[in-house]
Amino acid sequence: MSERRAKPFSITAMPGFATIAILAFVLLYVPIITMVIYSFNASNSVALWGGFSFRWYAIAWENDTVQEATVRSLVIAVSAALIASTLATLAALGTTRRKKFKGQTFVYVMINQPLMVPEIVTAVALLIFFAAIKKATGYTGLAYLILAHSAFCVPFAYLPIRARLEGMDLTLERAAADLYATPFQTFRRITLPLMAPGIAAGAMLSFVISLDDVIITEFVKSAGQDTLPTYMLGQLRRAVTPEVNAISTALLGLTVLLLTAFFLLTRKRG
């Protein structure tokens, strides 16, 4: 039967699927690549090509507002990543490798809650809540943003840490206990180092998620607390400038870098 076919019959092939898939990838990347290319455009216009240049990167970097927003974004993202991954590590230790306890489902639901509630609703809720606290205490610092970011980063930190814990071999810890190590020693010397790749992955994901947040930051920020994304949102509502292209590309580069690191980290496990 198969001799009559010109091509060997592939059971996985579906007519047109490959074409659509390739087209999807092209559509997915054309806008991003256009943006990256135009960030190196020397001309003032976003539409006309005026030769290759780093001009807009220099302009963006010399812009005080951009510099401050960058530092602020990093401070918030690093703090949120540290807090979220620490708390998520504890929660993962509490919810894995032990008999399912009463209320554990509640813990799961709470931890994953930021993934289920639309971001705009959380943003509105935090706006109301923090506005009241700001008015009562007079404190308008970065802590609100760090708190909000830490909260929505928890599920992103929790997932890889829990996955790592569940896949971990118990024999080493048992051996340590057999050798009269205290529970704390076992944790510090055995469990924690074994968990480290999961924690690092969780922290990195949290960092990326915090760095990219727009909506919650937009609602929670006080005067002069723009992060890079909210600064860009403000600029975008007016016009697309090559400067925003440059910032986007830089941010994109950072994200890709961290993601590559994340994949390498999680891959080692297998």
């Binding site: 996985t12 539409a47 807090i83 813990v107």
Partner: protein
């Protein structure tokens, strides 16, 4: 409570506290605010009223006090649901072949394709929306290209239309459809298809009777993952919609700014939350009955 359970709670407690203060707790305040009166310019007056909820569904004419269904709110709600459903459909039509394509690649290349689809997923939504804006604006890539080809004389107005919002959302949420579909297809036992072909099934029949039923949980998961954030979308319609054709997310935002009606905004937020929860519950229902069937 035994030792293990107590430790479990104690270890989870810090995360729970953070989430109660920084995410879940304030939702209760939103619920309370939806039953208060709006303040003069912002905030609320602390007196109980169901006016905000009334205004979600009905409107009073300013001049003659006649009451009618709040068709404006219903229009916005309907537009949000319609655009979200369309986005889900478009991402499925493009996403299914894409996921299939990735899953049927040789394993060494599969990881690369998967990574390529993941990068946009983790990349700033704002940046991606902005990239699509560049393409569809009047003097943008698409219009310039079509004009250069001579297909059109004047730029087509895509920006600031519902179509622009749809294109933008389909673009930014496509990876959310592809990933769960891929996970489902990846687990798929291709010998089933082989068996079907051996029994002289046509491709269409194989697709309809074998592939779709088995990857259904992936389809449901992908649809939920696209539908829920589309419904609450804020950034994409704000940048591509032009402030006139709002979605529910923008309308909620408006009540806390120009609209100066926090209780109405709070009530609309609760409504959005209910719709999303209903969608999620439906999802849990569907997938758990799938599981039972599979067992």
């Amino acid at each position: 409570m035994n030792q293990s359970a107590r430790n479990g709670w104690l270890l989870s407690l810090p995360a729970l506290i953070l989430l109660v203060v920084g995410a879940a707790g304030p939702l209760l305040i939103v619920a309370v605010y939806s039953f208060l009166e709006p303040g003069d310019f912002s905030g609320v007056e602390w007196s109980f009223t169901t006016e905000a909820w009334f205004r979600v569904f009905f409107e009073r004419d300013i001049f003659d006090d006649t009451v009618s269904a709040a068709d404006a709110h219903l229009t916005i709600l309907w537009r949000s649901v319609k655009l979200s459903l369309l986005t889900t459909l478009v991402t499925f039509v493009i996403g299914f072949p894409t996921a299939w394509f990735i899953a049927t690649q040789p394993p060494n290349r599969r990881a690369m394709w998967l990574f390529l689809i993941t990068i946009p997923f983790w990349t700033n939504l704002l940046i991606r929306t902005f990239a699509i804006l560049e393409v569809i604006r009047n003097q943008g890539l698409l219009n310039s290209f079509l004009q250069w080809l001579g297909l059109i004389d004047a730029p087509i107005q895509i920006l600031y239309t519902d179509g622009a919002v749809l294109i933008g959302m389909a673009y930014v949420y496509l990876p959310l459809m592809v990933l769960p579909l891929f996970a489902a297809i990846d687990r798929f036992d291709f010998r089933l298809i082989e068996a079907a072909y051996d029994l002289y099934a046509s491709r269409l029949l194989v697709l309809r009777r074998i592939i779709v039923p088995i990857v259904r949980p992936g389809i449901v998961a992908g649809s939920i993952l696209v539908f829920v954030p589309s419904l609450g979308a804020y950034v994409t319609p704000r940048i591509l919609g032009g402030g006139k054709n709002m979605m529910i997310g923008n309308f909620i935002d408006l009540q806390f700014g120009q609209g100066r009606n926090w209780p109405l905004g709070a009530a609309l937020s609760m409504l959005l939350l209910f719709i999303v929860m209903a969608a999620l519950l439906a999802y849990v229902r569907v997938t758990s009955s799938e599981d039972r069937q599979n067992v």
